[in-house]
């Protein structure tokens, strides 16, 4: 692997997909090395912008030398990205981070995505299906229009379960309410979304002794491992907790290694805690 790469990518497409925007960028080198769980960092705002940091997005798909990100417009950065035109150039770095670990053979897999966390699950489902796995997809959001990538999910997963907090689509409630019903005979659980959701996903999987992998979304300044802003407490093989970088050692971690109870703090038993 010779990446990650830093390139000026041409916009090949910008589409509204429900409440989200799909941005497709021509980036052959990044597409060639992309794996499920990888993310990219996009510069925003143009030459005279006041925004000095890049915006990070999970890869929602790749192929034919292009990569796709799916995002919601929240602030000035995503607003600028959503207003790009085909032909415009966007500075993009990637593929970044540690992707999901894939099984060596066919398995029964449950993929759980909350909000924008559904994005990386699409390529993950494709990869698992190629391995002959059974893919059960569980997608949750606050409201129906906030559901991400449900159409793609139906194309790539064996089953798709939907939950919304207000019941405007699928089951009323959280993904954690629906997950137990999907764990029967499961070999692995994969989750991406808000920390609170990942915590219950990892917990429910552990309860039935199914291994889980979770992709976290910590605020990142550099995305490449040089600034130390994106750390969270992770249990090591030696049983000791270290503050690891979500952008480099992550964003994917084993569910039973994330100290969910201590995220946002430096636990007293962490290596180097003062």
């Amino acid at each position: 692997m010779s990446g990650p790469f830093q390139v000026a990518a041409e916009v090949v497409g910008v589409r509204r997909v429900g409440a989200y925007v799909a941005l497709i960028l021509a980036a052959p080198s990044i597409a060639a090395e992309a794996r499920p769980g990888h993310f990219v960092a996009l510069s925003v705002g143009g030459p005279a912008t006041s925004m000095v940091l890049r915006r990070c997005f999970s890869l929602a798909g790749w192929g034919n030398g292009a990569v796709t990100v799916l995002f919601s417009v929240l602030g000035h950065g995503t607003d600028w990205l959503a207003s790009r035109q085909p032909g415009d150039l966007v500075e993009v770095g990637g593929p970044l981070g540690t992707p999901f670990a894939l099984p060596s053979g066919p398995q029964t897999c449950v993929l759980v995505g909350g909000g924008t966390g559904a994005a990386p699950l699409i390529p993950l489902a494709v990869a698992l299906t190629e391995l002959g796995s059974e893919v059960r997809m569980l997608i949750g959001a606050a409201r129906a229009e906030k559901l991400m990538a449900v159409e793609q999910a139906r194309l790539v997963a064996d089953s798709v379960t939907i939950t919304t907090d207000d019941g405007s689509a699928g089951l009323r409630g959280w993904v954690s309410d629906a997950l137990p019903g999907l764990l029967a005979g499961a070999d692995a659980v994969y989750g991406c979304g808000p920390m609170r959701m990942l915590r219950s996903v990892a917990g429910l999987a552990a309860a039935v002794e199914v291994p889980s992998q979770v992709a976290v979304e910590e605020a990142m300044a550099c995305g490449v491992g040089v600034c130390m802003t994106c750390v969270l407490p992770i249990l090591g093989d030696d049983g000791r907790t270290r503050m690891l970088r979500a952008c480099l050692e992550g964003p994917v971690f084993a569910g039973d290694r994330v100290r969910f109870d201590a995220v946002g703090t430096v636990p007293a038993d962490a290596v180097g805690a003062s």
Binding site: A219, G272, S274
Partner: protein, 317 residues
């Protein structure tokens, strides 16, 4: 074509552009993006005696043309640094400038001792923007005496050039600079971040869990240029490693003519991991376009009453 060879405190570097401490870790993560040996050198994240977990998150807030950070010097400690990080740089022929930090003059001295005859080590940058446990947590860089004490302690142990890294959050920067040089600093790095606060208007609470953080990026460039201007005017013989918002070769040129002998690129690396190499290439083009044969020719040029207007530079902005 301008010769980029850069001399700092008697040492020769491949170019005038370095990474900035804390913005390049120990170099390794930037290797995929450019040849680390092609720039002046890698200034490593400030290392302390013991491993440090740093501050709680959030540790970062974006601000207009800048950012705040409160990393809290997370790092592996000097032992792991010496066994893992420094050898990696040495094997690749990368000039290493090791930044050290401590809570007492003794800690700084101990670090300098540990660094003795470490392979591949070019210089030591002394990060004195740390709370001094012996004076109610006042930052060393904010006191003429504390700053001098730390520099003297490192000087006594180190056999290589040492640069003292100054904080802009002081009333009289020149006197701090003088005392560091008098205590044995071969050069000065400036500037470290400005202390700042960001408030989250949603929660009505500080964004950073540590409340205060260090402000960096283009927002502070005018302050950095002012600090360099004042210190170079007062101590023209002392080499300055300049930093604070450098993002382009044009910026780097401004730092050199203001009095810096070389520059570090920090926050700009977060938006573009190739930034240190790109900035050096852009600077080379700016210098060549103006017909300068060497980097040293431009150092402090802006202080001349009438600097020659050279061709090739486009308008400001």
């Amino acid at each position: 074509m301008t010769d980029l060879t850069t001399r700092l405190a008697g040492l020769e570097f491949a170019g005038p552009v370095f990474t900035a401490s804390g913005c390049a870790a120990a170099g390794r993560e930037l290797a995929p993006y450019f040849d680390l040996a092609s720039i002046g050198g890698v200034v490593t994240k400030s290392v302390m005696l013991a491993p440090r977990a740093g501050r709680a998150t959030p540790r970062m807030a974006e601000t207009p043309s800048g950012m705040l950070n409160s990393i809290g010097l997370q790092g592996p400690g000097i032992d792991t640094f010496l066994s893992t990080d420094l050898p990696w740089l040495a094997q690749r022929g990368v000039a290493a400038v090791v930044s050290i930090a401590g809570h007492s003059a003794e800690e700084y001295a101990a670090l300098a001792r540990r660094l003795r005859d470490a392979p591949g080590l070019a210089m030591i940058e002394v990060n004195i923007s740390c709370p001094n446990v012996e004076s109610r947590g006042r930052v060393f860089a904010c006191s003429v005496d504390d700053a001098a004490a730390v520099v003297a302690a490192v000087r006594a142990e180190a056999e290589i050039p040492i640069f003292a890294k100054l904080s802009p959050d002081v009333t009289d920067l020149v006197s701090i600079a003088r005392s560091c040089v008098a205590a044995g600093a071969d050069g000065l790095s400036m500037i470290n971040t400005l202390l700042g606060v960001a408030i989250d208007p949603r929660t009505l609470r500080p964004v950073l869990s540590a409340v205060t953080g260090g402000l960096s990026g283009p927002a502070i460039k005018p302050v950095a240029l002012r600090c360099i201007w004042q210190v170079h005017a007062a101590l023209p013989e002392v080499p300055i490693l300049g930093m604070g918002g450098v993002r382009s070769g044009r910026d780097a040129l401004e730092f050199l003519v203001a009095g810096a002998s070389a520059v570090s690129v920090g926050t700009a690396t977060f938006a573009d991991p190739t930034a240190p190499a790109r900035v050096q290439a852009e600077l080379a083009a700016e210098l060549t376009a103006r017909g300068f044969a060497t980097v040293s020719e431009v150092i402090g040029l802006a202080h001349l009453k009438e600097a020659p207007v050279r061709e090739g530079g486009a308008r400001a902005g």
